[in-house]
Symmetry: C2
Amino acid sequence: MGKAALNEAARMVEVEWSDGGVSRFPYVWLRDNCQCPQCFNPDSLSRRVLMNDLDVNVSPVRVELQAKGSLLSVEWPQGHESQYDCHWLRERCFSPQALSERERDWQKRTQLWGAELAHNLPKADFPAILTDDRALHDFLVVLDSVGLVLVQNVPCDVGQVERLANRVAFLKPTSYGLEFEVVKKPKPNDLAYTTVKIGLHTDLNYYSYRPGVQMLHCIEQTRGEGGDNSLTDGINAAYQLKKENPDAFRLLTTLKVNFYCTGVDLYKFFFRQRRNVISLNDQGEVQSVSFSDQARDSILDLPADQVQPFYDALKAFDTIMYLPRNCLRFKMAAGEMIAFDNTRSLHGRSAYSLVDSTRHLQGGYFDWDEIYSRMRVLKVDLGIKDKVT
Amino acid sequence: MGKAALNEAARMVEVEWSDGGVSRFPYVWLRDNCQCPQCFNPDSLSRRVLMNDLDVNVSPVRVELQAKGSLLSVEWPQGHESQYDCHWLRERCFSPQALSERERDWQKRTQLWGAELAHNLPKADFPAILTDDRALHDFLVVLDSVGLVLVQNVPCDVGQVERLANRVAFLKPTSYGLEFEVVKKPKPNDLAYTTVKIGLHTDLNYYSYRPGVQMLHCIEQTRGEGGDNSLTDGINAAYQLKKENPDAFRLLTTLKVNFYCTGVDLYKFFFRQRRNVISLNDQGEVQSVSFSDQARDSILDLPADQVQPFYDALKAFDTIMYLPRNCLRFKMAAGEMIAFDNTRSLHGRSAYSLVDSTRHLQGGYFDWDEIYSRMRVLKVDLGIKDKVT
């Protein structure tokens, strides 16, 4: 820093950097973020100043640069003194340019895909993910941006989804337990546990906190016909709908649909949730999709004359999802696992027949909160500069 | 039902009820919700009809009433026949009145409170909750509407928050584990693990999926001064802010604040999340609050000239939270547990001294998805007519 001065009118400290640029730091923000041990706990890296004790109208008595311009020193009334490192300050600059750079770091780097992804399916090696931090990092980066990774060389026994989840953080428990077995069951509480075709869907739309990522690990695949998985990028499909049928897009982003599920698994459950089929973020970008033929409630809370337009919109979205250019199909082999963004990548499977074999997938979930935390830690540990949302 | 007829112009079946009322059911909705075993799986209680196979322009060939008007029978092209029970239909009526009744069932029944709640604190008996379904139901209903319950007669050893969570569903795991011990620790990764005052806050604002409910179980209380808990209804405080300082309310419902936490517990973590301090639902009602002096990031992504107004707004909200009329204070005794809505009820504690004693709280979380599911199941099992969100 070359200069520092008080701007009483703006109630900000103005700092001139050695490169000539100027940053302005509001008084109240500086006082609130004093880094001295009395105001900031170095063990927990957290603020000790309580808003309740903060004078939001505080003004510095004086400012000066110290340590050859690498420290900004601010003296407050009653003699409290704060020192701010120049790099620390620069990372917190309030200029439009700095804000727009930081804004970019928050943007999810979504790579849209269609059926062509089958020729170039993102792959990861299970043993490498489990043992190598860089492999784990790269796996999570692709899972975040593409929303689908084929994990290979997975041992053909149960417990592998848990091993992968534990490498990130932990399995997300649901009413179906920590893991669930996708096999034909005598009294199925879900169509997944039959041999029928399952349409493209996202899981657990009847939860407010839907699982972020789903893993499906193929332990045994049927030797008979069928049992292929279908996968579609729901965000890509939603953008195609927006372009081709803006009215349908508008309906699916505004009308609430009920999802529900009731039955018994670990215990009796009865879930209900209302949500838009297509959810937008604050910037109007498609953030997630919620779709399931199976779990969509027959109770539809719409005026009668909106029902046909709603179905037309849902059909239009569904049709796009299944277009050959959008829907990727492949039959997992034993020892393979797919991991996909459950809020984005729709999955389904074709009907199958069991010939001298069973079909056994083990499934499990983990959440984006833990994934992003893990990615940030790995980036720090591995010295990767790339920011993560 | 007294009569049923096709209305080709509207593409709806019109049903006249025995009481004279008329309901209209759109053709496409009826076909989509055929309840025959081919279209609907009675084991999983879910739709088998795939949107992909549904003709959204389908029209019935004819309708008729059967079984003395208790069944609506619809014949579709290609001879498929659907039968709908009259009670089932009535529960799905699309009339404005029926929609508005169902809308009411979705509304959360929030009971706002202030410090006066101390004289009438909602209480629950731990052994009763664990063994009696009605007691569990009543506990959850109050937890939902008030957002705070004092649970009494809890054994004074660890593991009780898990027992309570397991009675509802399961503990929500976080980076701090399934349970966490609030005691003075030598190298605290959180100010909770010191003896200093902790300001009013909600937990884990740096998660996208914040824990829904927090339990704090007092296993041992300090015999020294302090260690009282403070609790404020954040939704009530937000509405007071809206009334007294609409500009501040507008800022806190629109400006995004960064929350963060980094450190080591079960493993290294590094969480970041942006959110409004006050969140509104689609109806503009206050839905939740996110507040923490400790976890609010020093990186503030606002233009410089919005910083002072933001702090003024935060200070105004904070001041309301701490008003004696709003902030309830009491010192938990060993064998007591508070359970509160972490998205609404702000909690804090006064500084404390340790005199010939330790202070040991055990904490844990569980989520609203599981709570609402459990409440619905209990209502069905206990024959309680009241609906739940």
